[in-house]
């Protein structure tokens, strides 16, 4: 499983990235977590508001953050 956090570096993007990392850790998942900051890669997903969460190439949500518990349910 590959989890991507899309964001150009705003405070909320960091919040989401941290939440994803702690979710993966708590669940003991093997998922790979990547932070995507290049605008060209973000645009490829068609995302217009950051942060956004992408799991295995599919946009799960954009323009908001989530708690670690919410993310664990998606894993």
């Amino acid at each position: 499983m590959k989890i991507e956090v899309l964001g150009t570096g705003c405070a909320k993007c960091k919040t989401l990235y941290d939440a994803v990392q702690s979710a993966v850790k708590e669940k003991g998942s093997e998922a790979e977590v990547v932070k995507v900051e290049e605008i060209s890669k973000i645009m490829k997903y068609g995302v217009m508001s950051t942060p956004a969460l992408v799991i295995d190439g599919k946009v799960i949500f954009s323009g908001k953050t989530a708690t670690s518990a919410e993310i664990q349910r998606l894993l």
Binding site: K12, C13, I39, M43, K44, Y45, G46, V47, S49, I60
Partner: protein, 315 residues
């Protein structure tokens, strides 16, 4: 009811004299702070629920290939309900122009979205009354529509950074939230926003209360009254670096108006605070060449100054 509570707290519990300056200022501070936070919590929550139904991806589809005028009006209106944060300005801009939203229409959205925002409106409504809040919405939309049309007419597409036109934009499905998710989103949004702005509100209302109680009436008539032709442009210039602090600036402005600042000057100042910001300019520099960026700032600033003079003349 809030007024009674503030009166009770200040005059009975703290036993200050209602006629004293400190009593009046403290009463004003407590009443205004309570009122503003109540309004902020309720309205931001409602606005967040409405906004969760208008993701920018949907707005983009509604505006794609719209002609000027109709497109500009629609864009300015959608700017009110589409959630926007200047940190997302770059993906938003690229997403818009790549999907065929005309440049002028995109600018109408970019101007209206930060300017006609719920925090500014709540503060204006709570401190100045609904009439001024409505005037602010109306003139804000007009500035966004007119400035967008002008930028569209100038045909400045070549002053968009070249890479923007070559960008590959994917199509992401519009995620539809369930009602439960909308409530969660709204709660998180409201708490996040309140956390960010509460110190500004408290400091702003505090300074406002101080001015209210201690600065003599008519103090500002000479400098910021309607007869000083430089007041409006100076107010606009001062508003630019105060970006995103509408919550803190409005209570101070309200107190300044009591002391003689003219209404048009107040409006122009408010609009400059919300619509023109240096951080946003720096972010937009990533997608706009200097000439277009300067044109955008110049046109919006001019439109705001005109609004200021207009209201100083008619009200």
């Amino acid at each position: 009811m809030l007024k009674q509570f503030a009166d009770y707290l200040v005059f009975t519990l703290f036993s200050l004299q209602p006629s004293s300056r400190s009593g009046e200022a403290l009463d004003f501070f407590i009443y205004d702070t309570l009122k503003i936070f109540l309004l902020l919590t309720v309205i931001i929550f409602v606005v967040a629920i409405i906004r969760s139904s208008f993701p920018p991806e949907r707005t983009k589809r509604l505006l794609s290939h719209k002609r000027e005028y109709v497109g500009n009006i629609l864009a300015a209106l959608l700017g009110i309900v589409t959630p926007f944060c200047s940190c997302s300005a770059v993906p938003l801009f690229i997403g818009f122009v790549e999907s065929g939203v005309p440049l002028g229409v995109t600018f109408s959205f970019l101007i209206s979205s930060p300017m006609v925002n719920e925090v500014a409106l709540i503060m204006l409504w709570g401190l100045f009354g609904w009439k001024l809040a409505l005037i602010y919405i109306g003139t804000g939309l007009l500035v966004a529509i007119v400035a967008g049309i002008v930028i569209g007419k100038l045909k400045m597409e070549r002053y968009v950074q070249d890479y923007v036109w070559e960008m590959q934009v994917g199509n992401c499905e519009i995620t539809v939230m369930t009602f439960r998710e909308k409530l969660d989103y709204a709660r998180e949004y409201t708490l996040g926003l309140l956390q960010k702005i509460w110190p500004y509100v408290v400091v702003g209302v505090g300074l406002g209360a101080f001015i209210h109680g201690y600065v003599p009436a008519d103090f500002l008539v000479k400098w910021a009254g309607r007869d000083n032709p430089f007041a409006v442009p100076v107010a606009v210039a001062l508003g630019v670096p105060l970006y995103s602090n509408a919550a803190g600036v409005i209570p101070i402005v309200q107190a300044l108006m009591e002391k003689g600042m003219a209404i048009g000057t107040v409006l122009a100042f408010m609009m400059a605070v919300t619509a023109l910001s240096l951080p946003e300019a720096i972010i937009l520099k990533n997608v706009l060449k200097t000439r277009l960026l300067a044109t955008f700032f110049g046109i919006v600033a001019t439109a705001i100054v005109i609004v200021g003079y207009l209201f100083n003349a008619i009200l």
